[in-house]
Amino acid sequence: MSTATAHDTAHDHHGPPAGLSRWLFTTNHKDIGTLYLWFSFTMLLIGGAMAMVIRAELFQPGMQIVDPNFFNQMTTLHGLIMVFGAIMPAFVGLANWLIPMMIGAPDMALPRMNNWSFWILPFAGTLLLSTLFMEGGGPNFGWTFYAPLSTTYGPESTDFFIFAVHLLGMSSIMGAINIIATILNMRAPGMTLMKMPLFVWTWLITAFLLIAAMPVLAGAVTMMLADRHFGTSFFNAAGGGDPILFQHVFWFFGHPEVYIMILPAFGIISQIVPTFSRKKLFGYSSMVYATASIAFLSFIVWAHHMYTVGMPVAGELFFMYATILISVPTGVKVFNWVATMWRGALTFEVPMLWALAFIFLFTLGGFSGLMLGVTPADTQYHDTYFVVAHFHYVLVAGALFSIIAAVYYWLPKWTGHMYDQTLAKIHFWWSVISVNILFFPMHFLGLAGMPRRIPDYAIQFAEFNQLASIGGFAFGLSQLLFLYILIKTIRGGEKATDKVWEKPEGLEWTVASPAPYHTFATPPQVK
């Protein structure tokens, strides 16, 4: 249990400056968190619009709406924007808002760098999106940008894509450094590491993953740039390079990246489930160790994305066993959430509904991941819609749902208003039903052999594709309802209490709602 002394009133006069300069020059963790969250929501809608183009084209076989090159640009940019523009910045935004309040710090450790790491993002996003309007079109080689598709055969705009990735990487690395410094140096007295809320723990580990993985991605795109323009042959067989090497370098970044997008989600769920079960989180320390083991394992499983490149059997076996091993710590987590709910006094407020959907659907995505992790099975499913189904279950019904759950959990604390719970429940049911209509049929499509990243398909895939498209349009529409709920809550609504929920744990619930511009200027004493 933690208690905080009342100290906020003294600083109330020191509010934010008015106008645009507040946002441009802000070093306040709450302002920057808000900026991150709005940026990622904008990117979610842009990337979502691209998904709508994809689903519209796939509504029936044959070529209807867009030409194949533009279709490929849509799949590429949809992936890049959702990963680097929507999911990752949303988690950084949540970290900015919540970590200082959760550990009793007045702000982030490096506030000016915090401002910089946010303001790089809009430029990176614009650079990436501007490629669509260039001669020859935007990047069309898939979000994994395998060489030589992206080097020898990439469009001219690939260079803009490369610099956008550099900028996105810099932003994430700076954000990660800031988060580590905040957690390690700024904790309130008495807040030992093993007392930290799990969201803080998962973010600490994620930040280390970011620092280790993002520079490797920056290295990969730099090598691409050199291959394209400076006559090197990193990935070019003619000069002694090797295109397979690209896949190794990319996935050495790419697999930790997968966990960068899901570990903070585990943290969020571990905050929400105990609140609405009215019990302490089951197995706190095992959660911490499980997170750390997942992070470690994520660095030695990368080649399970490349089972079909012609690896020797020994390599396939190693990567298969290491991959399957990840299901142990992940299983520990799911077990702990279920055990937390076991014999708890459960209520089903909106954040809890999203958290439950997360547990169900993420686990489902985990199971299809297990299937893909088994080498002989993957040989069959590789590059089919089964893979698409798998990673959308873990990233949409997993990562995105956890972000939405977090917003519904902490929004009253941020805005001081309770949202319209009926509308929010409609949003939930609408999303959770449509997301399954959207992605579940893709499992069948993949098993039946429909390849991913194609604008046209054989006639026997028509029904499932139509179903998926209908689910897709419904899911896309439901996020506009989310936007409406958000704006409505920010502008007004029923006053939220300081605690917001019946018995939430954590320092962030000890400050007023809405959270004052400056919190914990004097650190609270944690017992």
Partner: protein, 179 residues
């Protein structure tokens, strides 16, 4: 006072973590030689070895078994070269020097430089498969319409796995110059 200490601690951590990020950026590039080294040692990726002629002469020949080597040749689609082996296959004893000629012809109306990349299947044999002479050791420049006969001399180490009776050696020519 405490504030200053905190600021200093934060800056130190910033420096340390930035150093980690820079190191990891370097590690990305270090993956290139590491990857090549790994492939050389294990013979993965079908990379074949090179030995000197004297070394090859000093190898004892294992007359008790023979291995058939088949040849596959490809030119990258944008390279107008006609490239074929003069024999589809030859049979050698392990330790015996095998010799085969390839014909390479530039069908374009201008000079082109290209590099041949070898690959061997099954890959577990590749570390026992060594060459003393190969057109793949360096880039080849052919004038417009020029045709050359290029030899490959190879020797299979007698230590090669006993269950191997056939291997396939393939070459792909990749264009090196622009245009």
């Amino acid at each position: 006072m405490q504030e200053l200490q905190l600021q200093k601690a934060n800056q130190q951590l910033l420096l340390k973590l930035s150093a980690v990020a820079v190191l990891m950026f370097g590690f990305g590039f270090a993956l290139v030689p590491l990857y090549n080294l790994f492939c050389d040692i294990t013979g993965l990726n079908g990379k074949t070895g090179q030995v000197s002629v004297t070394e090859a002469r000093n190898t004892t020949i294992d007359m008790s078994r023979s291995i058939t080597v088949r040849f596959v040749t490809t030119s990258q689609s944008e390279l107008p070269w006609e490239f074929k082996p003069l024999a589809d296959k030859i049979t050698v004893h392990p330790g015996e020097l095998g010799k085969v000629n390839f014909s390479i012809k530039n069908m374009a109306d201008h000079a082109i430089t290209a590099q041949a990349i070898p690959s061997l299947a099954p890959t577990k044999v590749s570390k026992y498969f060594n060459k003393t002479e190969c057109f793949c050791f360096s880039q080849q420049t052919l004038q417009a319409g020029e045709e050359i006969i290029a030899p490959v001399h190879f020797i299979i180490d007698p230590a090669a796995p006993k269950d191997i009776s056939q291997v396939i050696l393939s070459y792909t020519f990749f264009k090196s110059t622009k245009g």
